[in-house]
Symmetry: C2
């Protein structure tokens, strides 16, 4: 049995830690006109141009409505454009603009240095362990959630 109480609950700790990391990173990139969530989506767009929103949503770990709204704000700021897909008139393909690419190129090294700064209290093995445990938890919970819907 695990230790009890909120202070030892993974959920509570995960939330508190995530919020702090995010705030720290947000402060570092806000002058470029992006939030961490918008950055995650822009990163995916730059990674592969021409994806449709559904695919972007999956890769960015967001649901469809959230992705719609984040893409709207990225488009309003001129970082991406949407074009109606020729194959499927329900969907849009998303492309990064020159401004979007420049901005992403600027932010990427900031992300890495921010991670390095935050992870300075962890050894390289600990960082590795942390991300691998997170991936495992993530995958397991995803399958629990999918199982739920039956």
């Amino acid at each position: 049995m695990h230790q009890k109480g909120l202070d030892h609950s993974i959920g509570f700790l995960l939330g508190a830690t995530y919020r702090k990391l995010t705030n720290f990173f947000a402060a570092r990139i806000k002058d470029f006109g992006l939030t961490p969530e918008q950055w995650a989506v822009l990163f995916r767009v730059r990674e592969e141009d021409g994806l449709i929103q559904k695919e972007l949503a999956e890769r960015a770990g967001k649901d469809k409505p959230t992705t719609t709204r984040i893409l709207d704000s990225l488009e309003a700021k001129g970082f991406i454009t949407k074009r109606a897909s020729e194959h499927d008139r329900r969907s849009f393909q998303v492309y990064i603009t020159d401004l979007g690419r420049e901005t992403a190129d600027t932010i990427e090294p900031i992300e890495y240095s921010t991670i390095a700064e935050i992870a300075r209290v962890l050894s390289a093995e600990e960082y590795e362990q942390m991300t691998s445990l997170l991936k495992r938890l993530n995958a397991h919970t995803t399958s629990l959630l999918e199982h739920e819907k039956e």
Copy 2:
């Protein structure tokens, strides 16, 4: 240097994992009229009766406005009551109601079983390692954020 790309970024993984854990837990407690965030605050109120909002905010890992609004919703649902402090007329002391205590007593074991279910992919040592790494990251980022404000 750490592995690059969003899929290996602690921030991204932390956020995605936190959201999934939270959704899973939220589904388990929603019939009791509480969200995970409201549960975290109610837990703290039950832990120590008569705290003022500022103290609750710290213990629940939330800021003041968020705490105000969560307490409002807990009060509207009859889980807590607020009384003006006698010592300091700016502040309110928060008390759990009978209904609040019953509900908290019901939810606590659900929290533990949910954690157990989610953490089934981790060994006891891995769970321990995970929470201790999270606490360390959390503390370090907190100090970075405080340092920021100068």
